[in-house]
């Protein structure tokens, strides 16, 4: 896909999103309410309208072939870049999804092993070392010092004795 095609797709997508936001804003009064001033929907409604107009402007420039992006025939994302960027993005999505199931302390080591070993080609010794060390630091910093309890999923019971020790 060329940058030029991507430009049009993005503008259409954002235009559609603007229309959705406009319709969503009308759930509240968008006009003037006597003695109260503008209704709660007015501010987002008119802003989304400006968003829509901007998207139309971008599309008009696209048709007129105005500006470097609208003229660029370069590939939007090179295939070998897509491979790396895609792998990282999918790894992030899987990690966040796992937060709710096997918990942060199950998901983070997996993410670290994936990144260090398979993206970075570091030695197993180094990989496993960091995969253990970083979650431990995170536990002590966030849970013990800041008292921010991170999602545990099914690993919750394993942490009960630890909490007893520190709180």
């Amino acid at each position: 896909m060329s940058v030029r095609t991507a430009e049009l797709l993005m503008a259409l997508l954002m235009g559609a999103f603007s229309i959705y936001l406009m319709s969503k804003s009308t759930e509240l009064e968008i006009g003037w309410i006597e003695d109260e001033g503008p209704g709660g929907g007015a501010w987002p409604f008119w802003l989304s309208t400006i968003m829509l107009i901007s998207c139309i402007g971008i599309i008009v420039n696209w048709v007129r072939k105005h500006g470097p992006i609208a003229n660029s025939q370069k590939t939007y994302i090179e295939s070998h870049v897509l491979l790396d960027v895609g792998a990282v993005t999918i790894a992030l999505i899987v990690t966040v999804a796992l937060f709710s199931y096997i918990g942060v302390y199950g998901a983070l080591p997996l993410f670290l092993i994936f990144y260090l070993r398979f993206m970075g080609k570091h030695s197993w010794k180094f990989t496993v070392g960091l995969a253990v060390l970083i979650p431990v630091i995170i536990f002590f910093f966030f849970e013990i010092t800041l008292k921010i309890i991170l999602p545990k999923g099914i690993s919750e019971p394993l942490f009960l004795p630890l909490y007893k020790m520190f709180f």
Binding site: M10, S25, L28, G40, L116, I138
Partner: protein, 507 residues
């Protein structure tokens, strides 16, 4: 005058509390590190690390973040010189002459010049700041809702008029940030508003940190993964020969560049005050002017020390300059200060001119910490030049997963809701895709911070005037501010018309 000095002295008492002093030193060190890493700059550091500051009281938190901001400005030069890759966009101009110097085996000279120029820029601007801020805040005390709204319009208009990005994309970015800030509840009627796709997670609104970490953490890192892949994963690190004797000689040589340093400092400071401009254009302008001023302009681009000094003095001065409107008017001068402002709201401090009256200790503590951060950054920088060069050898594949993890946890920490982590991931990916199409994203971050302040200002103004927009033009302060905003907004159109007219004449 004496009153200001007294307040400043009180500020120093806050700074010299052991905890705050520690925070400044750690912040400067971290900032230097973040700034030195290619691709990461002050805005990334402040966005990613803000959730960690919930540990300390607000004064300590902002002092820590301001120290990171400062350190990163120093650090940006390190990778510009050693790798030829700007450590942050603010250090782009430093590569022009810093890189050639390093290639000629004079990396230590360039690094020392950058550090000293940063110090001079920082010092001059922080003194200007100290004496400009209180009177400005005093004037702003009489500001009401119409003036506040006019100021915000001015901030957005500068992005459109001076931002140099596509106008439609800039306006889109501003509006989407403002709309996202409206998600949750209507502040006046209390009704749920814009609960997108009826997902209940949107009921507590879109936290500005979710957008900021999404764009400046996740999005920026994905962007860096791409650059890393395109670059084949290799970088060219220059050798630096650092000895005490050479450093002393370098310092003596720098005295002759004092004019360039002064010019860069003043220019950077005043450019930094403008909301859209900030440190990057400030340093580029300073480079350009230094070249015109120089006795040896032909050396620029081939390793001129003045070419390193000018942008470095300017970008540090600009970072202080951008704090002026943030503290006095509640309008951030750069994306980094926008995030600092958002942090202040989280800590329960109302931004705006009242801050100087109601939270004097906080404000003056911050100002005094700028003096201290400036000095510590210089010392840490010069003392640890060899260490920072070593850090640049850290493979990207070790740093990247650690930063990604900090982002994920940082996105969860403020609200402790998984919904926000997903949202942050989505912002990161969409932000990356939009950035590839030259959508400017800084205006969106600024807008999501200002949105909750702009909407009530507008609605209250309209209630006062019974629905007439003339209120923004008839008041002493609001009128001129709004007119300047409108001129800036239509500046690109005027320029386009002028260019067309000229082309016609030429034809």
């Amino acid at each position: 005058m004496t009153e200001i000095l007294g307040l400043l002295a009180n500020g120093f008492l806050v700074v010299f509390e052991p905890q705050n002093l520690m925070l400044i030193i750690v912040g400067c060190g971290l900032g230097l590190f973040i700034g030195a890493m290619p691709g990461l700059g002050s805005v990334n550091g402040v966005a990613i690390l803000l959730p960690l500051t919930f540990l300390v009281p607000p004064t300590g938190a902002i002092i820590f973040l301001a120290a990171i901001y400062y350190g990163a400005m120093y650090g940006g030069a390190i990778s510009s010189i050693m790798l030829g890759i700007p450590g942050a966009s603010t250090a782009v101009a430093t590569t022009f002459d810093g890189r050639p110097l390093a290639k000629n085996g004079l990396a230590d000279k360039a690094l020392t010049a950058a550090a000293v120029a940063s110090f001079v820029g920082g010092s001059i601007s922080v003194v200007l700041f100290t004496f400009f801020a209180p009177p400005l805040a005093h004037v702003a005390l009489v500001f009401g809702a119409p003036e506040e709204f006019a100021l915000m319009m001015l901030a957005f208009a500068t992005f459109v008029g001076l931002g140099n990005d596509d106008i439609f994309k800039t306006i889109f970015s501003i509006c989407i940030g403002l709309v996202l800030s409206a998600v949750g509840f209507d502040i006046i009627s209390g009704e749920p508003r814009l609960v997108l796709w009826d997902i209940t997670g949107f009921l507590h609104g879109v936290n500005f940190l979710v957008l900021a970490i999404g764009i400046y953490g996740i999005g920026e890192m994905i962007w860096t993964v791409e650059e890393h892949t395109l670059g084949g994963g290799k970088s060219m690190l220059s050798e630096a020969n650092v000895t005490v004797k050479r450093t002393m000689a370098n310092l003596r040589e720098l005295v002759s560049t004092w004019k360039t340093m002064l010019m860069g400092s003043f220019l950077g400071y005043f450019v930094g005050i403008l909301p859209a401009a900030g440190a990057t254009p400030g340093s580029l302008m300073s480079y350009g002017i230094a070249k015109q001023m120089s006795k040896e302009p032909e050396k620029f681009g081939h390793g001129s020390v003045e070419g390193v000094v000018a942008p470095e003095a300017a970008n540090n001065a600009a970072s202080t300059g951008s704090m002026l409107p943030m503290l006095t008017l509640g309008i951030p001068g750069s994306p980094t200060t926008a995030i600092l402002l958002g942090g202040m709201v989280i800590w329960g401090l109302e931004p705006g001119p009242r801050l100087f009256v109601d939270h004097s200790k906080f404000v003056w503590g911050l100002i005094a910490s700028l003096y201290a951060a400036n000095l510590f950054s210089l010392i840490i920088n010069i003392a640890f030049i060899p260490a920072f060069i070593k850090i640049l050898k850290t493979p990207f594949t070790i740093l990247a997963p650690i930063i990604f993890i900090l982002c994920l946890i940082g996105g969860y920490a403020p609200t402790q809701d998984m919904h926000d982590v997903w949202l942050m991931l989505a912002f990161g990916v969409v932000g990356y895709l939009m950035r590839k199409l030259d959508y400017p994203l800084a205006p969106a971050v600024l807008a999501i911070v200002l949105g909750p302040l702009a909407e009530p200002a507008l609605r209250q103004s309209l209630i006062i005037s019974d629905g007439s927009f003339s209120i923004f033009f008839t008041r002493t302060y609001a009128g001129p501010i709004m007119i300047i905003a409108l001129i800036l907004l239509f500046l690109p159109l005027l320029k386009m018309g002028y260019d067309k007219l000229r082309n016609k004449k030429a034809a």
